[in-house]
Amino acid sequence: MSVTATDIEDVESFTRRARRWLAENLPPAPAGGREMGAMAVVRSDEEELARIARCRELQRMLFDGGLAGICVPREYGGQGLTVAHQEALNREIAGYDYPAETQIPTFTPCMAVILEFGTEDQKRRHVPAILRGEELWMQFLSEPSGGSDVAGALTTAVRDGDEWVLNGSKIWTTGAWWADWALCLARTNWDVPKHRGLSVFMVKIHQPGIEVHRIEMLNGSREFCQEFISDVRIPDADRVGEVDQGWTVGVRWMYHERTVAGGSPYVTQPMGRRPARGAGGGSSLLRLARQTGRIGDRHARELIGESHALSLVGDAMTRHVSAGIRSGRVSDQAAALIRLFGGTREVRNASIAFELAGGGAVAWSEDEPQLGLAGVGYLMRQAACIGGGTTEMSRNVVSERVLGMPRERSGDRDIPFRDVPRGPAHA
């Protein structure tokens, strides 16, 4: 990522190479575009597993074609190129089928954290396997006891010789039922303030002692999981970062998570040419308005245009803020602006789709599934402002870390974590 030497492939020739390779190797994107976010179609388990298997294949093809891990150093299987090269790939890959569902959280935040904090051995063991599509990673981060307060983790790892014994529960892990590995934030010391008693571990998801329970969301999706962890033994070699210094890792982990909405050097996602991202997006809203006979209606046309504008502005802002972080114009905490924009944009898009679909969004016939998706997508609307860190947390980060405003008062600072109140006091 930091390569600036002149002996690397220039962006123009990389772009030509990528364009040619993509045209010769990747199939076109599924017809009609693949909806993400709130308008996503809920797949059956068989369809989901088949798609994930396909994503692994596509990832392997990109790896063999020299287009995986653009900003990852060559010694870990990457290309050792720059953000400008990744952006070029993002432009060129628009319109092709690519491993969209397995980008996040594998490449960021998980691989990004491993690259930043992993030992040499950890990086060599995992990063090439990730780039080949052999390892899909998840985050064992949130816990049932607290959503936004991730540093308040109760899941505990106790040292036993060269191993750690892990107990507790994690939640909101997307796709844990088909993924391979997880980064896990766990408490290793209850006698110090909460941020000073955490450590990070690499955990194989499917092993005795980890029970993966799938959570049914209000739209019928069973993508999110909760894991129950009992006496799982982890070798100390799988610890990432120093003992009890897990929050040093955690801060960067949160940073990389905020780049999920855009701006990560490790994530491949189409950009620029098509308004494909997000709930609805220009093309699918056009289809929706045609279906409901409102395509000639001025108000409908303004709504569709507004959605497209948000998509273009979001992309521009992502480029702008990312460039600003690289040049030092703004702190890396400004990535929260991108996350905030992404969330509020998806919310607006879901509302626009709901409005365009009209009555069909609340009661639709068998042959009008798109209308129903707009309705169900509306019910799922807030997911975009909750998952990946709530927008309230983003607003805290922007105001406190970017604008320097006073921190919120908290009841857990400077006292041993075991003494932190975890519920109302009972007389």
Binding site: G305, A309, L312, A316, R395, S399, L403, M405
Partner: protein, 379 residues
């Protein structure tokens, strides 16, 4: 607003220092009480700094700083917004750009040279009153008459319409569009000053009643000006957006400072989560506006294929969130924010005035939908 080159930084800094020295907000308020709202002497000095030459090709005597004159001009406009500075920056530059690109040698040697020297100012008469106010609509008519044309119709609102020396007017002409450069003093051309919300800018309604113009006053090819008019309109929006971004920045910075220094219930406003979260939203709107305004200026300056799309996305966004941001700044100031003494309203006026000019956010949103449809049809 954008990543600047060293030359651009120097250029912008020169303009910033000039505006700070010559046009502090007290001077802006003083000028606002005068007829035209700006000072021709200061304007001529600004022209010396390059304000009116950036969009003119070198062959015609102009000079950009970076090779993309629209981005360079956007930097000046950004500083104009940040200082609520008066002066026909947009109006004059639109005409200079048109003459630089389409003007005859005579038009370039005469009026264009005057504009670049700051000796004359000009305006582009484009917008028309309802019901002819759809985006890009040109209803005012040019009819051939002997070796010239007769212009008949109304343009409104026209910035600096009463004070400009030259008026570039877009006219429908036999199924096409033609543009003419008309002296403000032409017989049959009357300017009626309009009242407006912006204290620093003047607008007028221009009535063309049988205005006779010679064929040599045409700018560009007969009936072929539709493309040039669309380009000028996008150029206008790009410059306007930079100005809005600058005004938004002033309001935001001023209000952040206020929130740190104003105490209620024993704590600064900036310590209340509700208020912090609103600042976070404003920071997002501001950063997004900066980003898309920068891309719009670049796209127009490069004549990029996606020029119209980026410009409309930018106006659609900034036209909604720009005034929202300044209004929120007013709200966070409380009562003082709606007084005449506080400077905030100078910036609120500036941003609000830019919202409907050269296309409302809704009109630009609708244009985006048309662009999407055209793209689908071509795929």
């Amino acid at each position: 607003m954008f990543e600047r080159t060293d030359d651009q930084q120097l250029f912008e800094e020169t303009t910033r220092r000039f505006l700070e020295a010559e046009l502090p907000l007290t001077a802006v308020r003083d000028l606002a009480r005068t007829g035209p709202g700006f000072d021709r002497g200061l304007w001529a000095k600004g022209a010396e700094l390059g304000w009116t030459s950036l969009l003119v090709p070198e062959e015609a005597g102009g000079a950009s700083v970076s090779g993309n004159g629209v981005v360079d001009l956007a930097l000046v406009a950004y500083q104009f917004g940040r200082h609520a500075a008066p002066g026909p920056l947009l109006a004059t530059n639109l005409v200079a750009a048109a003459l630089g690109r389409f003007g005859t040698p005579d038009q370039q040697a005469g009026p264009l040279a005057q504009l670049m020297a700051g000796e004359a100012i000009a305006t582009w008469a484009f917008a028309e009153p309802p019901p002819h106010d759809e985006l890009g609509e040109v209803h005012l008519a040019a009819t051939p008459d002997g070796d010239g044309f007769v212009l008949e119709g109304t343009k409104s609102p026209v910035e600096a319409g009463a004070d400009a020396d030259h008026v570039l007017v877009a006219a429908s002409h036999d199924g096409g569009v033609s543009q003419f450069l008309v002296p403000r003093a032409a017989a049959g051309l009357t300017a009626t000053p309009l009242r407006g919300i912006d204290l620093t800018r003047r607008f007028a309604r221009l009535d063309f009643r049988g205005v006779r113009v010679p064929a040599t006053s045409m700018v560009g090819e007969p009936k072929q000006a539709a493309g040039g008019v669309a380009w000028l309109a996008d150029l206008a929006v790009a410059v306007q957006l930079a100005e809005m971004a600058g005004a938004m920045r002033w309001a935001f910075d001023t209000t952040v400072e206020w929130a740190f220094n104003r105490y209620s219930f024993g704590r600064p406003l900036a310590s209340y989560q509700e208020i912090k979260h609103r600042f976070a939203d404003m920071a997002m709107w501001l950063e997004a506006t900066d980003a898309i305004a920068g891309e719009a200026a670049r796209a127009v300056g490069d004549d990029a294929p996606n020029r119209a799309e980026v410009v409309s996305a930018a106006k659609c966004y900034a036209g909604r969130y720009g005034p929202e941001l300044v209004q929120d700044c007013v709200q966070l100031h409380g009562g003082i924010g709606i007084t005449f003494d506080h400077d905030l309203h100078l910036f609120l006026r500036r941003v609000a005035t830019d919202v409907p000019l050269f296309g409302t956010p809704g009109q630009h949103a609708a244009r985006l939908t048309a662009i999407l449809e055209a793209r689908e049809a071509s795929e």
